[in-house]
Symmetry: C2
Subunit: 272 residues, 2 copies
């Protein structure tokens, strides 16, 4: 499996992916799931991919040369000359459809569903940053202020911390911490997600980034972050109020609406 997550903030964007791929429990390998496209001063784009590896590798290969017809009669549209991220996402959708046309039927004959799950975001000079999630049929949705982040792959373990802490106003450094912690929770609870990680941080209106890094078990910052989070979580937990079962205790106080379960004490007790 895979875990990738990306967020669009007012201050910029953060992209994070793991690198574990497996086909069965005894075929585990490392494949990087992030690609950074950059034409400094003009555009900065990042693609994250989950799902069947042969499909996502094909999509990435085709995306380099994929072209859309320009209805205004100009040059064919590619990710390198598209005037908007929306058009660039359409080019990506088209690449997904081309891979489907090539492989979909043969995969189906082998009982394999055509599944591709992609996150694609960045900024092209002339418009603001944009972040898309692209599905197997090549259609896509865009992140908004209400839903500033997208996740693909094993997304559930790491979602609560994002739900709690991320808003569009979150500063870049804080969002970077938050995504790394979301990844840490996923790494701890699911073996199919693994190091190294790829992290890319983009500052709005820069059209390039020098904050692209690979984080493996030797990364001192990630090591310190995981340790500190674990310890501070424990501290926070220890400070929570303990449940009180006394009749005056708040936990056991009867609710005006819901009664406690009646116990079943005999084979002939009715359940309802």
């Amino acid at each position: 499996m895979t875990y990738c997550v990306a967020v669009k903030l007012q201050a910029g964007m953060v992209f994070l992916s793991d690198s574990r791929t497996h086909a069965g429990i005894d075929q585990i390998s490392t494949f990087r799931k992030m690609i950074v496209y950059e034409n400094p001063g003009d555009r900065f784009m990042v693609l994250l991919s989950a799902g069947n590896l042969s499909i996502s590798q094909s999509i990435r290969e085709l995306l380099q040369t994929e072209q859309l017809h320009d209805p205004e009669g100009g040059e064919p549209i590619t990710i390198w000359n598209a005037r908007s991220m929306f058009d660039a996402a359409r080019v990506l959708g088209s690449a997904v459809r081309h891979v489907y046309e090539r492989d979909g039927e043969a995969l189906r004959r082998s009982g394999i569903e055509f599944n591709a799950s992609l996150i694609f975001g960045g900024q092209i000079r002339g418009e603001g940053m944009r972040l898309f999630q692209v599905y197997s049929p090549g259609n896509f949705i865009e992140a908004t202020a209400e839903t500033p982040f997208f996740q693909i792959g094993e997304s559930k373990y790491g979602k609560p911390v994002l739900d709690r802490l991320l808003t569009p106003e979150t500063p870049l450094a804080e969002a970077t911490k938050c995504l790394l912690i979301s990844m840490d929770s996923t790494l701890k609870s699911n073996l199919s997600v693994g190091l190294p990680l790829d992290l890319a941080v983009y500052e709005v209106d820069r059209f390039s980034s020098d904050q692209v890094v690979c984080i493996d078990e030797h990364n001192a910052y990630f090591h310190a972050l995981r340790g500190a989070w674990s310890a501070k979580l424990r501290e926070a937990f220890d400070q929570l109020p303990a449940p009180e079962w006394s009749i005056a205790g708040e936990l056991a106080a009867p609710s005006p609406r819901h009664r406690a379960l009646r116990k079943i004490t005999h084979p002939r007790d009715r359940l309802i």
Copy 2:
């Protein structure tokens, strides 16, 4: 969907379930998913159920009268006279199989998989506490010191906090807090899990419990716990070290093993 979780500690057991059931997004109802069986001084058992509601209700109904043949020629074995939790779990497995025999084929014809997912635990006088997870075919596994908890339903959101904080040595009150926080994370991130909750806490060798409570939106303790956890998590997060991108920064320091991603800067750039 559903989220149920149970843990077996040295000090006792804690069981927690939500109560939301839905068949499509416009058919959402409240059904309690916990049943407490108690013969004070002799046995205390709790059943938690997830999956198709018609199946789990049938299982619970049948379980009241289900009997297994006693190879030693004694009375037929029921959950009320079983000498061990293992035998009681076998009775439950048998009830699951009877529901399958009755409904499985008709469900399959309607394209509905026979899915039942159960947690069953407690203590019968004469042996220690035991905790089982029972599957659709009626087979089951037992919790051990290495894996003291079981979850059914929407289990992923709330798993990281259990992985981090629960061990068999955890005191009962602490485990109760921990399960409630695991439920809180799930409630926050997944609409298909909802209040009220049923909570049962069992102290080892008591063979009964007066700590069975229904927690709804009026419960002052749960309300305070959720608020405190949210605030303390935020505090803990704010105290974590910020990522440093300077060349001397630990985050960006190159690893001896993994290089950072090469950026793709041109349509003819090779990807690999």
